[in-house]
């Protein structure tokens, strides 16, 4: 069992967001500020890791015709746990995330890992794979949120980072970065940088 490979690969070479293009929906809506992005990343990591573990334990008993429904039920159970936990201990973040916590259920990363990995591998490996992919997703989320919060509101985690003297000298926050469409453009640029550095990932649309 190659622990390092399972954990590290999804951060770079097989990153679920930039390479496999999974789980974009929730990734973009929660990244205007760093704090909700951190919470979202942690929630998705937990759900992916544990539902991978459970499905991997059950994999021999699930008839393949109804496996999607079984998977959805397992994932939904974990999401309900996370949602209740957030409502109890971090109510303001849970309000900011609104429906996107519930949408973890239909996050393609989770279904994708369950289908592609957990159904054919042992529980230990599946757990690590889920953890790795969750972290890969969180990594992109944090990068995007970092730039959007820094350039859009001049703060990080709510603390002011850009010195007041800059504002006095005429610097202004870029309001465009707060708007949702900029998240897409930031992810597009991340993909561009990554693919320029690793030419083997480039795809050829022309053919």
């Amino acid at each position: 069992m190659n622990v390092k490979k399972l954990l590290i690969e999804p951060l770079r070479k097989t990153n679920p967001v930039t390479v496999l293009v999974l789980g974009i929906c929730s990734c973009l809506a929660v990244t205007a500020k760093l704090k909700p992005a951190l919470v979202m990343g942690a929630s998705v990591t937990i759900v992916t890791a544990f539902s991978n573990l459970i499905i991997s334990l059950l994999r021999k008993g699930i008839p393949s015709r109804i496996r999607i429904i079984v998977q959805l039920v397992v994932v939904a159970t974990f999401v309900i746990l996370i949602d209740q936990f957030l409502k109890a201990f971090a109510y303001d973040v849970s309000k900011q995330l609104s429906v996107y916590v519930g949408l973890i259920i239909t996050n393609c990363i989770i279904m994708g890992r369950l289908e592609a990995f957990a159904l054919s591998h042992g529980p230990g490996e599946s757990f690590l794979d889920g953890l790795g992919n969750g972290l890969g997703y969180s990594l992109i989320l944090i990068i995007v949120a970092f730039f959007r919060e820094l350039l859009g509101s001049g703060t990080l985690l709510g603390y002011q980072v850009i010195p007041q003297s800059f504002y006095e000298a005429g610097y202004q926050n870029n309001g465009l970065m707060i708007l949702p469409p900029m998240a897409l453009i930031v992810v597009g640029i991340i993909i561009w940088i990554q693919r320029t550095r690793h030419p083997e990932m480039q795809e050829n649309d022309k053919k």
Binding site: C25, S26, I69, I80, V99, L103, L179, P180, I185, G188
Partner: protein
């Protein structure tokens, strides 16, 4: 008139893709040609029109706080809203399955057109997202929920057909190597999103 307002608002102002980023996965994966993306868009609209009103009724008569009072007045204090996710997703999966069977028996031509897309729709974020937004907004009757579902579906259809048309043209243009494929689709979607923001704040 109110229905018309709600419809236009959910197509343009609250567009599922450009305002909420729901259903992005299939939006990026299936938008290579206009024909297939129109098929998927139709299927999504169809499923939304059925699932949103059904989930509205489930929410109103089973899940929201005090909703069980119509069965037995003593149950008025029960609040089942923590079951929302699991029930909504189970209902969506079931309805997609039933729809698939109905379409297969009665209109085989539509079935072969939608074909592979139908089962995939159960895990499309736009479907669950639309139901969750419906719950958040407290619509006053089933009609409004149905119109909201229809509008969101049409908005999604418009968005995916538009990007597919642009991507078909893109094949003949010069794009930096690293941006080809997914990268450029992201940036185009972002730009389209900014264009759609012009509708923001419209009061009809």
């Amino acid at each position: 008139m109110e229905y018309l307002n709600l419809f236009i608002k959910s197509v343009f102002v609250d567009n599922m893709i450009f305002a909420y980023f729901l259903g992005m996965c299939s939006y990026l994966a299936v938008s290579k040609t206009v024909k297939t993306s129109a098929g998927l868009g139709l299927a999504v609209t169809f499923v939304l029109v059925v699932t949103v009103p059904v989930n509205y009724l489930i929410n109103k008569y089973l899940l929201s706080p005090g909703a069980l009072a119509w069965i037995n007045p003593n149950w008025a204090s029960i609040d089942l809203s923590f079951l929302t996710y699991i029930l909504f997703i189970a209902i969506i999966a079931a309805i997609v399955q039933i729809l698939e069977m109905i379409i297969e028996t009665f209109t085989p031509s539509l079935y072969s057109a939608l074909g592979i897309f139908l089962p995939l729709i159960a895990v499309n974020c736009a479907i669950l997202g639309c139901s969750l937004f419906m719950q958040e907004r407290n619509f006053s009757n089933v009609g409004e929920a149905a119109v909201f579902g229809l509008g969101s579906g049409i908005g999604w259809l418009l968005a995916i057909v538009a990007i597919a048309a642009i991507r078909e043209k893109l094949r003949y243009s010069k794009i930096p190597k690293g941006l080809e494929g997914v990268g450029i689709s992201f940036i185009i979607t972002g730009l389209m999103g900014i264009a759609f923001m012009a509708f923001m704040g419209f009061k009809l």
